[in-house]
């Protein structure tokens, strides 16, 4: 019996470690490929030189000011969105939960669009406006759903309502300012073009908070899966834990959409894919989702800017095109006995 138990346990550990390792290796490969491939190809030796060598020359400019910040932002955005989706799916016990469901995307979208259309000279503040819009929408959702704490279902319903309301606000803007809509389209689809070190400084703190938060919160997420009553009887302060987790997820998502625009897909589907690979224990689900989210965005961005070069497609569109069929494939495979 002992042997059988250990065997089953071993297989799970192998699977978890294997997937984590594969995700880590893929991330390194994707980051390197993201720096090497482009209009000007750069080899590994040149990357090394431009990182340690003197800060001059064209190659240094390309690596240091264009491609390196871009791949790093892609990784951080992917990580934050995947973590946010993972946390929300756990807290709201809803497999369709993603950063959009708590109103974060719609809030960010409306605020950014307002700024871009009404005060185009202030475009530099778009990330800040998006961030504040996201948190404003979250506050509204929480206020609507509040009843001695937040319950999953009222929260989801309030989130959908707020998203619809803000979405119609965006439609109104598009109709009355149809001449200025062009500039906002790329942002709405989500993209990483022209992102710089300044954007990294905006998102990095939240990535760090998120990473630390997940190290503490996986226990709560695991306990919340057992239902409120059981979690409570095991000593969890359910309302406090849920509230804290929603805030953490919203900060992660808001920081991501504020620098990359409305990137859908990652927050919804990466956690699902990870769950299918390694199971629903959040201790492993969270870090693996974070890694796979980073890989997904970096790789998709690489495709977005190279395949139709010199035309660049917003990375969000690439992810939807490639990811949705893959997800459907996984779902159908998973549904078979």
């Amino acid at each position: 019996m002992r042997v059988m138990m250990d065997h089953a346990q071993d297989r799970r550990i192998w699977l978890r470690n294997g997937v984590s390792l594969a995700a880590l290796v893929s991330l390194v490969v994707a980051l390197l490929a993201g720096i090497m491939i482009g209009a000007v190809p750069i080899n590994l030796q040149e990357i090394w030189q431009s990182l340690v060598g003197t800060p001059t020359g064209e190659l240094y400019q390309i690596v240091h000011n264009i491609r390196l910040p871009r791949v790093l932002i892609g990784a951080l955005v992917g990580m934050n969105l995947a973590l946010a989706g993972c946390i929300l799916q756990g807290v709201l016990r809803n497999p369709l939960a993603d950063p959009g469901i708590v109103g974060v995307s719609a809030g960010a979208g409306l605020a950014a669009m307002l700024l871009m259309i009404l005060w185009p000279e202030l475009t530099v503040f778009v990330p800040l406006a998006a961030f504040l819009g996201a948190l404003g929408a979250l506050a509204l959702v929480l206020a609507l759903a509040w009843n001695n704490g937040v319950q999953p279902l009222p929260m989801v319903l309030a989130g959908v309502a707020i998203a619809a309301l803000f979405g119609s606000g965006m439609s109104v803007l598009m109709i009355f300012h149809s001449d200025k809509v062009q500039g906002t389209v790329n942002w709405m689809a989500g993209g990483l073009q022209g992102r710089s070190w300044g954007h990294i400084r905006m998102i990095l703190p939240y990535s760090l908070i998120g990473s630390l938060g997940t190290m503490v919160s996986y226990r709560y997420l695991n306990l919340l899966q057992l239902g409120d009553d059981v979690a409570k009887s095991l000593g969890t302060r359910v309302q406090l834990a849920r509230f804290g987790l929603v805030i953490l997820a919203a900060l992660l998502a808001a920081s991501a959409v504020s620098v990359a625009g409305l990137l859908g897909f990652v927050g919804l589907i990466v956690p699902h894919i990870t769950r299918m690979l390694i199971g629903s224990d959040f201790e492993y689900l969270l870090p693996c989702s974070a890694l796979l989210g980073a890989v997904t965005v970096v790789a998709a961005d690489l495709i977005a800017r190279t395949v139709f070069s010199p035309v660049e497609i917003p990375v969000g569109i690439i992810m939807a095109f490639l990811g949705a069929p893959f997800f459907i494939y996984l779902l159908r495979k998973g549904m078979r006995p």
Binding site: L226, V230, S233, G235
Partner: protein
Amino acid sequence: MNCMIEARAVTLGYAGKIICPCLDMAISKPEIVSIIGPNGSGKSTILKAISRLLPPVTGSILLNGKDIHRMRPNDVARLLAVLPQSVQAPDDMRVYDLVANGRAPYVGLFGRPNANDQAAVREALEATGVSELAFRRLDTLSGGERQRAWLAMALAQQPQILLLDEPTTYLDVHHQLEFMKLVERLYRELKLTVVMVLHDLNHAARFSHRIIAMKSGEIFADGTAPAVLTTENLRLLYGVESTVMTIEQDGCAHLVCFPHDICNGYEA
């Protein structure tokens, strides 16, 4: 030391709807207590209240003399384990991981399960006979096995009081009996206080030392099976005409209730 749970002048209810206007109850020694009563009589409500899941509107729930809602949640969870009527868990969770959740009140926020915790999980698995299923997925278990796995989680808390809400509702006759015998053995071996809500009067009669009968949010009768389960009481409680008899089986006398007809003009 005996662990004591007490409801003192509590009013219980949900969002403006009072279910139990005023109720006093004390369970002060290791024994098996069954709460019975018709639907809507407040039996699950009182169990929720002493589980710390439902704060009383007025009055207080005392655990060893201390207000349960002023104690630290982890301290309560180390004394008192609860198994709700319907439970949920991810399908792919393993039995071992489910049971290990019972150690949450002992493992702190940043701690890792230590040898003590692992030993407690192993003991709980063995006590409920699910050791061999430890690394099976929950969705591959039968109803009876799953219920024992959840009971193992409650036992891993190493509680002194075990609260069960209709634990045999979803089980067939075989697994109902198996579960009740398991509860009886746990009471005997671990000196647990067991409080459970039961629908099956014959199980209540056979396995409990004390039966509390609830009606309309009040305690209608409280005592041993022969004292509570009388023809008269069952008529007033459930509106049924029944025969209560004693039968001999393996040298033991068992009280058996056989409800055979419905009373006219009964109001709950």
